[in-house]
Assembly symmetry: C2
Homo-oligomer: 161 residues x 2
């Protein structure tokens, strides 16, 4: 049995995202999990996601991974804070209010990328997630993302699907 990722608990309606939707066959389909107090996502980029210089990952891919991993972390952290199992109703889904990425080093494209997230703060329906992106044993980027919970009135009635 394979452990379910944060994104596997999203209702179908919210599962078409290019970055993290399990129902988007063209997308990145990232998967995030808890590792103690940190969340972790491992991603092996396809060669087409090259950046400005050959051999290095595209900055937009790095931003995308940090974005979606942070949204998943915000949802998982909120379930935790509410002492609820992931996937219980009402479903939690976050959207990005702001995204900041500092690119510290070029990220090699020919290996595994690891993004590790940490909840920096929760303020009502707003969760701030900071993260670092590692490749080749080095921190190549840092992210800070403000996630805001999608309001219930924008969530379809039947989110059990």
């Amino acid at each position: 049995m394979t452990k379910k990722a944060f994104q596997d608990y999203y209702p179908d309606y919210f599962s078409h995202c290019y970055g993290c939707g399990r129902l988007n066959e063209h997308g990145l389909q990232i998967k995030s999990y808890w590792d103690g107090e940190e969340s972790v996502c491992i991603h092996i980029p396809k060669p087409c996601y090259t950046g400005g210089a050959p051999g290095y990952a595209y900055g937009g891919l790095i931003a995308s991974l940090i974005d979606c991993h942070s949204m998943g972390t915000a949802a998982a952290a909120t379930y935790r804070a509410e002492n609820r199992e992931m996937g219980t109703q009402p479903a939690l889904r976050f959207m990005t209010a702001s995204l900041h990425v500092d690119y510290l080093l070029p990220t090699p494209l020919d290996g595994q990328i690891e993004i590790r997230g940490k909840v920096k703060g929760v303020n009502g329906r707003k969760v701030v997630v900071e993260s670092r992106l590692l490749a080749g044993g080095k921190v190549c980027a840092r992210g800070e993302v403000v996630a805001v919970q999608v309001p219930q009135h924008l969530t379809p009635a039947d989110t059990k699907k």
Copy 2:
């Protein structure tokens, strides 16, 4: 005769980027132009670039468009500042030092996206570009990107290609 975009002047070596490389057949191949003091990029997103909610564009796509359009703007602005025609040697190419995006409104996926950039400041080899992303007649996102010129020693000797 079609007017050449900023990205059409990048040397081949720097033209494989997923966001703006004209030689990346899988990528977005964005095109940026001057419109007076502003730079403009029009992009029609493919349906696969859906975001967290159906019908809206992926935040990672928005970040990617802002990122690559800002890199192009930084290069074009530096050619202008040096009173040089685009494409003259030595070739100019920028990489992203930091990227910040504020998502103001959901961006509709079923139409045209316009990104308009403006150079906020130049400090040596560093150029700050601010931009706004418009769709459906509204400003849906704002970006601020710090671009840094790729050093000559990382640029291949023959950049005339």
